[in-house]
């Protein structure tokens, strides 16, 4: 009898030896005369258990992890392929509390399917959203996205439906859909997981966007640091095109949408939409002044839908299950779910898809199990390198765009980086300023010059010149209000939050610091 076994092909699992585990399993199965169907699935996002190997049993998929190549002999000796006991056995994968307590809409297929199998994708509700969209008038598709309350998951949280409506209404011979997959924020990897682990979902979302707005050409702009994602996405596009889900006549509907991958080249600022457009046009990634907005004059001057990966990947389920189904999740004006990426100094780091409203404390302790080092958690950076360092007094706030904005925190792309009490916040704040200096596109003075002066001022502060605090605050204010884009504008978030909540790390007395 043949047995079915799953070994992830996600980069994070591969970085921990998943390829070696797969090779050892195949070699040993052959030696032992066992018939094995080995599937390279994607990751469930339970990274502390990676590589997480799953075996199909009559009761369901049973998980073992973290598995190394050296464990394979022992696992097979113990008959793990029948679901037998072993010290690495984690039980039925769907029953693991970390996974069971999530609300997986966008990541429902992640780790379940073979990412490059169209048949597997369709067997797990894939293309249901596209098929429904093809039966609707384009304006109805746009209305569904508007009604769902979906906001851009890239950082600015702008309603996706409004962007789409603007592009749909624009008159032009050529329109584009561009997916910004230049996920450069430290502490984020949900884009990478999607590109590698469920690429057809992104293709489906982009195709729906094209149908809704009248675009016929699309691009996925993927960062060069993600070579596995680039390769997987290219292969998926070829397969989808060959099967008629993309191309000149999508599912015999008469609609056309061509899709192509463009590889970025390591410029953080190209996560900003206009800098990305310049890059795609073959230029330096220098930010454009707005207006005109890209929805009207975007790529090559034409109307362009620009969304990030998770925004577009959220669209298929909205079309398949309806706007109301999606809108029902979340709190306030933050509808739906967000894949929170719990990272850094935490015991059980991984991807947690939850409806808006969950708290940082729940994520860090209930899911994460506290710090990996066993030391107290001191600060949490939320929303990437330009996000604030959040002190404990805010760990019980519901994660909600408005509630966070009210206290100066950006949810951003949902990245959460945990630091224990050995972290030096003045050093981390200096790093943020230095990062801005290196990554500034150079177009506007507050960002280009301000970040360099910022590093110098922080060094003065660190060397005991307390007057420099006033200068630093003034400089942050100039960068915040004078920069052309979020890179310069948001650098004040990590810097001021570190200064306000952790003044002792700068050699300042707590009473000196002004909490804003």
């Amino acid at each position: 009898m043949s047995f079915k076994i799953y070994v992830p092909r996600d980069s994070a699992a591969v970085a921990l030896g998943a390829d070696e585990v797969a090779a050892a399993l195949l070699a040993q199965a052959q030696q032992r005369g066992l018939e094995m169907d080995l599937v390279r699935n994607s990751s469930r996002g339970l990274f502390w258990l990676e590589p997480l190997v799953e075996v199909q049993t009559p009761a369901g998929r049973v998980a073992y992890g973290p598995v190394t190549a050296e464990d394979v002999t022992g696992l097979l000796d113990a008959q793990f392929h029948t679901g037998a006991d072993h010290r690495l056995k984690q039980g039925l994968v769907d029953e693991i509390p970390y996974l069971k307590q999530q609300e997986r809409l966008t990541f429902a297929r992640m780790g379940v399917t073979d990412p490059l199998s169209l048949a597997d994708y369709e067997a797990h509700a894939g293309f249901a959203g596209l098929r429904r969209a093809l039966t609707l008038d384009a304006s109805v598709v746009v209305q569904q996205v508007l009604d769902s309350g979906l906001r851009g998951r890239g950082g600015a949280a702008f309603p996706a439906g409004i962007k789409w409506k603007t592009v749909a209404a624009a008159q032009a011979a050529q329109k584009y859909v561009v997916c910004n997959a230049d996920e450069g924020d430290s502490g984020t990897y949900s884009d990478r997981m999607t590109l590698e682990g469920d690429p057809f979902m992104l293709i489906e979302g982009m195709t729906i966007a094209a149908i809704a707005t009248g675009a016929t050409q699309g691009y996925v702009y993927i960062r060069s640091e993600y070579p596995h994602a680039v390769a997987t996405m290219r292969e998926a596009i070829d397969k989808a095109t060959a099967a008629g889900f993309l191309g000149a006549d999508i599912l015999q509907s008469g609609k056309t949408f061509h899709l192509e991958v463009r590889k970025a080249a390591g410029a953080y600022v190209c996560g900003e939409e206009t800098a990305m457009l310049e890059s795609m046009e073959g230029k330096r990634g220098v930010v454009r002044a707005k207006p005109p907005i890209p929805a009207l004059q975007g790529l090559f001057g034409q109307p362009t839908v620009i969304n990030n990966v998770i925004t577009l990947a959220s669209v298929p389920i909205i079309l398949a299950r309806g706007a109301d189904f999606y809108k029902h999740y979340g709190v306030g004006r933050s509808h739906g779910t967000l894949p929170f990426q719990l990272t850094g100094n935490v015991k059980r780091g991984g991807l947690i898809e939850k409806a808006f409203g969950v708290t940082l404390r729940q994520l860090m302790f209930d899911f994460g199990g506290g710090s990996a080092s066993g030391r107290p958690i001191k600060a949490v950076q939320v929303g990437g390198p330009l996000g604030a360092y959040v002190p404990e007094c805010y760990w019980d706030l519901p994660l909600d765009y408005e509630a966070y904005a009210a206290v100066g925190i950006t949810v951003g792309h949902g990245g959460i980086v945990v630091h224990d009490d050995t972290a030096d916040l003045s050093r981390l704040a200096r790093y943020a300023m230095e990062f801005c200096a290196i990554e500034s596109c150079g177009k506007c003075t507050p960002c280009r010059i301000g970040s360099t002066r910022g590093v110098e001022v922080m060094d003065r502060l660190k060397n005991g010149d307390h007057q420099a605090e006033v200068l630093l605050r003034d400089l942050c204010d100039t960068m915040l209000h004078g920069s052309l884009c979020a890179l310069g504008g948001m650098t004040s978030n990590p810097v001021l939050s570190a200064l306000n909540y952790y003044p002792q790390d700068f050699g300042l007395a707590a009473s000196v610091a002004k909490v804003v």
Partner: protein, 156 residues
């Protein structure tokens, strides 16, 4: 001066993509994939084919961190130095790598290894992370670093 073979490779790669909208980045990627870097002497050829000035092409090549101006060593080691990796000891790992490879970043004095920082490989939940000759590694400490670099060095 470019060798004749290199010049032909560049010409061929430029011709293959020059009609693609926004062709410059795809062309530069192809050249770096083929040669391991973008030779300064190739910029004129690229500029001419795309009807750009050489300065414009230089501006693009030098803007992006990914493009190399000279070939890397036979062994390339990249260590992530972004926040999530920092929280788990990436700075100590970087210091260890610098002392072990006898470089402050860049190609080592003996020309055997190029050490580079990267800012996020998307392995933030299993940090610190690094790349050795295109292969990803997570949860790296000093011991694991020594083992991986020694293994890759002996394989090369």
């Amino acid at each position: 001066m470019l060798t004749e073979t290199t010049r032909q490779t560049v010409q061929h790669l430029v011709a293959a993509q020059k009609h693609v909208p926004g062709a410059l980045l795809p062309i530069l990627h192809d050249i770096q994939d083929a040669l391991g870097y973008i030779p300064a002497q190739a910029l004129g050829n690229i500029a001419q084919a795309l009807n750009l000035s050489r300065a414009e092409v230089h501006g693009v090549v030098s803007f992006y961190h990914f493009f190399r101006h000279e070939p890397a060593a036979a062994q390339v080691v990249q260590i992530c130095r972004a926040e999530a990796c920092q929280s788990m000891g990436a700075e100590a790992l970087w210091a260890h790598a610098c002392s072990r490879l006898q470089t402050q970043g860049g190609t080592s004095a003996d020309g055997a290894v190029t050490l580079e920082p990267v800012y996020c490989l998307g392995l933030c939940s299993s940090s610190p992370a690094m790349v050795v000759d295109d292969k990803l590694h997570a949860r790296v400490d000093a011991d694991k670093f020594d083992r991986l670099v020694a293994a890759a060095g002996s394989a090369a």
